[in-house]
């Protein structure tokens, strides 16, 4: 199993910084051959629709590069606000903290690997090239 990337977002990102993070991260996934990406947002106090979209984009792009993304450490106030806003981050997996996120990634990758080995595993678990 490839290495995991851990991204900790420490400050409120303004748009250009968030877009830079998006491109840097996708570059890093491709270069390192990472199979898992953990994005720690425990220090982020505001997630608006723009930030939500960046997180969703990262997950989708990572999936294209055969990596799983897990967002960890979302603050309760942020979760409540996102639900009220109508933003449920579809396609993004979440975990309570880095440790649980790591476990989730490991189990996901194990499932994907065993399906890769099996002759019939071909549909939803993102068959790698």
């Amino acid at each position: 199993m490839g290495p995991f990337l851990l991204v900790t977002i420490q400050v409120d990102l303004y748009d250009r910084l968030a877009l830079m993070l998006e491109s840097d991260l996708v570059q890093a996934i491709s270069k390192s051959g990472a199979q898992g990406v953990l994005i720690d947002i425990s220090a982020v106090s505001i997630v608006d629709s723009f930030m939500g979209r960046i997180i969703g984009n990262i997950a989708s792009m990572a999936r294209l590069l055969d990596a799983h993304t897990v967002v960890v450490g979302m603050q309760p106030a942020v979760a409540i606000t996102l639900i009220e806003l109508g933003l449920t981050l579809p396609g993004v997996q979440t975990a309570l903290n880095v440790e649980k996120g790591m476990q989730l990634l490991q189990s996901r990758i194990r499932v994907a690997d065993s399906e890769e080995d099996a002759p019939h595993g071909d549909d939803d678990a993102g068959s790698p090239e």
């Binding site: 960890v72 979302m74 979760a79 409540i80 996102l82 979440t94 309570l96 649980k100």
Partner: protein, 249 residues
């Protein structure tokens, strides 16, 4: 109480001597503050308004006696000073009432906060499993407290499953259901799971009759079955231990 009375009498008497019984708003301030302190503490200790106002008015009588003594035979002066004293005490007692009621209101507000705090306890029933029994009507303000408490406890304990038991909620209308769905969604967004238990038959009926879609939510009839479901999710098993076989000869 004697200390309080002496304090206030001294303040009033000082004021009278200096200002020759003229109502000076600045000189009144320390007296007002002193009285406010007394009436708030009385409101908190559950004195009745009658007792509190009686207390202020009895001070007036005491001062009247002193005035009578010091005035001697000068009736006109006594009349003037008595009138001034009356005005002063009218002002003071109105103020006392106001602060007394404010003191009571503060008590009520604090109790409201306490009730909403107490009525939403989060219990750790197992490692990784939290339960929150909800009792009483759920309005928007309370649901907000419920949601915040539950989510914060999930973060603090790192629990993966939360059980929201609604057997103590008298009725579920579409608004309450919406609140419950939001709580479940927010829990999931943080990476945990939320089960709703304690669905009584009447509640199941109203939910369906109102056309509320709870299909995305795991619901269970009892807290016990929710716990069982949670064990299943955590791949835990509860078994009865085999009793030791009776020893045979």
């Amino acid at each position: 109480m004697r200390e309080q009375s002496e304090g206030i009498v001294n303040l009033v008497v000082d004021n009278l001597n200096e200002q020759t019984i003229q109502l000076d708003p600045y000189a009144l301030e320390p007296i007002q503050e002193y009285l406010a302190g007394i009436s708030i503490s009385r409101a908190r200790h559950g004195f009745s308004p009658r007792e509190t106002s009686f207390y202020v008015l009895s001070l007036k009588n005491a001062i009247l006696d002193v005035q009578e003594e010091s005035a001697g035979s000068d009736i006109a002066a006594l009349y003037e000073s008595t009138r001034a004293l009356n005005r002063l005490f009218d002002e003071l007692s109105t103020n006392t009432f106001e602060t007394f009621i404010k003191g009571r209101e503060d008590v009520i507000l604090r109790q409201t906060d306490e009730i909403s705090e107490i009525s939403t306890p989060v219990i750790r029933v197992w490692d990784q499993i939290l339960a929150m029994p909800l009792i009483g009507t759920l309005d928007s303000a309370r649901t907000q407290t419920v949601m915040e408490n539950l989510l914060q406890s999930i973060v603090d304990t790192g629990s993966e499953i939360a059980i929201l038991d609604i057997s103590g909620v008298p009725a579920v209308d579409s608004l309450v259901a919406q609140h419950l769905i939001k709580t479940v969604s927010a829990t999931r967004l943080m990476g945990a799971e939320c089960i709703i238990s304690g669905i009584r038959p009447e509640i199941a009926q109203t939910v369906v009759q109102l056309g509320i879609d709870l299909s995305q939510v795991v619901t269970k009839a009892t807290l016990a079955s929710a716990l069982k479901h949670a064990f299943g999710m955590l791949k835990l098993e509860v078994r009865k231990t085999q009793p030791p076989k009776p020893f045979m000869i």
